[in-house]
Symmetry: C2
Subunit: 228 residues, 2 copies
DNA sequence: CGGACTTTTGATTGACATCAAAACGCGTGG
DNA sequence: CCACGCGTTTTGATGTCAATCAAAAGTCCG
């Protein structure tokens, strides 16, 4: 019921997935932990899909690269989130650590077996639902929102997810933000600069921000008021 | 392994979901059939989510409307496809029949119960995976492809899904195509006209087409060659 | 045949991309 | 501690693709 839901239209991510992992699920057998440095990939698109993952620490980005080098970042995953479930025999995306990260790996083969016999374990189903909601949300942004609307909505979502009012981290680079929002790095910068000038946000450093005028930022995200 | 997969990067929809519905699933209990005229809605975004659906005949579009009237059509569902699973207590999209359609309704409450106790029934899980793949595919189109690339890719996907070479139906209007591809109706028309002029496609009527030069159309979709 | 809706074509504008360069931040080594 | 170098971010000038505004042509049905 947060105000942002009006911006994005869709709502999602009801609960913390980590807390639900406790009970002994069949698919949990044979897991392992993997540590990644910033920029390291978990897998590249086309690799055989042996595992799906849960983020323990850090942030992972999931993206595709087109032949001309353009990238589309499908999603960012933080603490507790599960991804890589929806793959076929090969991975459809590249998964890369943005910052130093740790993930738990689940053998997909075990999940696959469980799905066929007893049905898909609840946590994985919920993670998939969450991913679909976010993908749909981004389709609206990419298809029907202006550059500044996308950037404003992106910042509000980051702030909402981190839940640390007055100080939100941006672990990803400007290029990553641009590749996620379907914009260029210059357009992202210009939007941010304009929001700073208008007093909607403040940015102590390039990688962290605080929302100064929530109502104003929301109006930009909704397209009611426009920057410039 | 079709050539189109290179265009879109992602692959999906491995099997026919209808055929898998045979075995007695718990969630199948209490289903009903509903008929819809063209333009009728199954539900509007915000309605309590009581059912999810399988298309028996016709085509259903699932979309969101922004406050300024802009629409984003998330997906089109045809024969055999399942949708509306990923909803919360309320529907996140509006589902509307494009042509006269028939759907089977599954009580979400029963699916929810099954998911919690035995895990999610396989068919629903697979439908969800399929929806996610398509959403990711469209994110790439919306975020990183030019207008003509999107239209070309859209036509190829339609043709591939219908599998009727030399004669593919377009049940949706130009406005629907535009709202799905994040374009305006005029831009969609101009792209189609240009493809006709270049001999890549032919259109006996506005609502059906045939691919005349598959390689050429694919090049446009991949951005290798550009129209005009 | 007339009326209403859908599709197509044309002229102009505008938002974002592209090209280019300056400013900033940060780690390394003198 | 400061100078240097390199990657990232920001600002500026110009170009372009698709949106917008406007109207004609086509299609369907009573």
């Amino acid at each position: 019921m947060a105000s942002l839901s009006k911006v994005y239209v869709l709502r999602h991510r009801s609960g913390d997935e980590t807390s639900q992992m406790a009970d002994g699920d069949a698919a949990l057998a044979g897991t392992c932990i993997k540590r990644l440095k910033a920029g390291e990939t978990l897998h590249v698109e086309g690799d055989p899909a042996l595992f799906c993952y849960q983020v323990i620490g850090g942030v992972i980005k999931e993206y595709n690269t087109l032949e001309d080098g353009r990238r589309q970042i499908a999603d960012f995953y933080g603490m507790g989130e599960i991804f890589g479930i929806s793959e076929h025999d090969v991975h459809l995306h590249t998964a890369e650590a943005i910052s130093e990260s740790t993930v738990r790996c689940f053998p997909r083969e075990a999940l696959e077996r469980a799905s066929s016999t007893q049905g898909t374990p609840r946590v994985f189903f919920d993670a998939l639902v969450s991913s679909l909601h976010r993908a749909r949300e981004r389709m609206i942004m990419l298809g029907r929102m202006s550059a500044s609307q996308r950037v404003a909505a992106f910042l509000m979502r980051r702030a909402e997810e981190q839940g640390t009012p007055g100080h939100t981290e941006l672990p990803m680079s400007r290029q990553d933000i641009a590749d996620h929002l379907g914009l260029t790095i210059e357009t992202v910068c210009r939007s941010l600069t304009e929001m700073k000038k208008q007093g909607l946000i403040s940015m102590p450093t390039a990688r962290q921000f605080a929302i100064a005028d929530k109502g104003g930022l929301e109006e930009v995200a909704r397209g009611v008021s426009r920057l410039v």
